[in-house]
């Protein structure tokens, strides 16, 4: 077994898990199951990031997305005690078909472009933390970095202000 074959096997495994979990998320009626399915999908995506030579972003994906954002989702789901989505009989079958048709049209259009485009593979690729950091703290990305930190501060204050219970009079 050669290294490219090994990578290919790993990639198809992760890809199958990612697509399967995404489908499970969309199909599941209980939102908590959907959340867990999304977590599985995110972790397998992190595996694919690792295969694509970006270990730093792979670790960040698990720490930020699967480890923090989804925990937030789960907390909200559990605290709001969300029940299963009720399936109303017979309603909206046409709209469901239209939705799936539109999704298929989108996939077809973009897919036809993707299979026609040429994607070379760069020979030497160094996406270690040091290289990404050196680019991140360069001129124009430094400004965006600082702006993002102010954005996070704003969202922190906003989330607390929005979710606070009004003090009873």
């Amino acid at each position: 077994m050669s290294l490219p074959l090994f990578h290919a096997i790993l990639f198809y495994m992760f890809a199958a898990v990612a697509v399967g979990a995404a489908l499970a998320m969309v199909v599941q009626r209980n939102p908590t199951y959907s959340a867990f399915a999304l977590i599985v999908s995110l972790v397998s995506l992190a595996g694919i990031f690792g295969l694509l030579g970006s270990p730093f972003i792979a670790a960040l994906q698990i720490v930020v997305y699967a480890g923090a954002i989804m925990v937030l989702f789960l907390f909200v789901l559990m605290l709001l005690n969300v029940k299963e989505e009720l399936r109303v009989a017979g309603e909206g079958r046409v709209s469901k078909l239209v939705a799936i048709a539109l999704g298929a049209v989108l996939a077809g259009e973009v897919g036809s472009v993707l299979v026609a485009v040429r994607t070379p593979v760069a020979a030497a690729f160094d996406a270690s933390a040091r290289a990404v950091a050196l680019l991140l703290f360069e001129k124009h990305y430094l400004y965006v970095f600082e702006a993002t930190s102010i954005l996070i501060l704003a969202s922190l204050v906003g989330a607390i202000a929005l979710a606070k219970r009004d003090p009873s009079p």
Partner: protein, 349 residues
């Protein structure tokens, strides 16, 4: 038989995984016994000393009992998640062990009966030497929260839910402090690789990060204790509070799995403390050769410290715990990052 390089690496890694897995299971069962004995001695009583010589067969007896106990699933519990939660907790606990180094590299000697790709091969005493080793540990402790959240929610019991939510809130609050304490180590060593951080502590004993970066070590000690849910931060799972919290409804093997996850997390935290703060396999006096034995000794000292802490200190109340994590540890860790960054800049100028 000639194996391709990929297959050679896979074979060596498989052997390493099996050896470390066996060692961890042995250490885990030994820890359950040692903890009970040491706590007993600290409390001026004897502890288990009847099964086997000095009670050494106690873990075996516990294992047999747990094996034969009936597994009860509460009615109305979410069956899939109820079974999956201990499994997830154990999987993330064991995956963290993959980046823990316990020595430098050894060269296999030339014995003559091994296949030629093994003769004289240099093997790193670490299952996988990731370039982002410290980030990987951080990622896995983030994933470890899910085992507890799932366990708390799936049992269909309001006390377990509260215990699970409290425990996961505690874990991700102290995870932040833990990560921030690592940042100053990474700054000084200049790399995310655990091997590089250990090598930055080579030399004399005062070059160890526990002495050179004392505030980071203090924050790590507190945050690691909270991460593994040990006393004084074990409010979410103590038997006297909330009826054992998130693992109330678990019996027999699933409970054993949750305990195993906690102990393996404790062992990983001790191994990380020994590596990142106490110089790992370096002895601290330049003449003495590096050896995994020094690392194991330091790790066992850390484990003893965790047990000692459990026997000595009362537990935090939940609001005191959250206040301490967010309003004390995080600012201290951040302040130390500034100081460490300033020192690194000054050294390089």
């Amino acid at each position: 038989m000639s194996l391709s390089p990929v297959q050679q690496e896979l074979a060596i890694s498989t052997v390493k995984v099996l050896v470390i897995f066996g060692a961890l299971m042995t250490l885990f069962s030994l820890m359950t016994y040692v903890e009970r004995r040491l706590l007993a001695f600290m409390q001026f009583r004897l502890g288990p000393n009847r099964t086997g010589p000095f009670g050494l067969l106690q873990p075996v007896a516990d294992g047999i009992k747990l094996f034969f106990k009936e597994e009860v699933t509460p009615a109305g519990a979410n069956k899939v998640l109820f079974v999956a939660a201990p499994a997830l907790a154990v999987v993330t606990a064991f995956m963290a062990v993959a980046v823990v180094p316990y020595g430098g590299t050894v060269s296999l000697p030339h014995w003559g009966w091994m296949p030629d790709w093994l003769e004289g091969r240099r093997i790193a005493l670490q299952i996988s030497d990731l370039d982002v080793g410290v980030l990987y540990l951080f990622a896995l402790s983030s994933l470890g929260v899910y085992g507890i959240v799932m366990a708390g929610w799936a049992a269909n019991n309001k006390y377990t839910l509260i215990g699970g939510l409290r425990s996961s809130a505690q874990m991700f609050s102290y995870e932040l402090a833990l990560g921030l304490s690592f940042v100053s180590l990474i700054l000084v060593a200049g790399s995310f690789r655990i091997h590089d951080i250990v090598d930055s502590q080579k030399g004399w004993i005062w070059q160890w990060n526990a002495i050179r970066q004392l505030p980071a070590f203090a924050v790590f000690l507190v945050a690691a204790t909270a991460e593994v849910n040990r006393t004084p931060f074990d409010l979410p799972e103590a038997e006297t509070e909330l009826v054992a919290g998130f693992h109330t409804e678990y019996s027999s093997m699933r409970f054993a799995l949750l305990q195993m996850a906690e102990y393996i997390n404790m062992i990983t935290a001790s191994a990380m403390g020994a590596n990142l703060f106490f110089g790992g396999w370096h002895f601290g006096i330049p003449g003495v050769p590096d050896s995994p034995l020094w690392f194991i000794g330091k790790m066992l000292a850390f484990l003893f410290f965790f047990i000692w802490l459990r026997g000595t200190v009362p537990r935090f109340r939940y609001d005191q715990l959250m206040h301490f994590g967010w309003k004390v540890l995080v600012p201290v860790a951040m302040a130390w990052i500034f100081v460490a960054a300033a020192l690194v800049l000054w050294r390089h100028s």
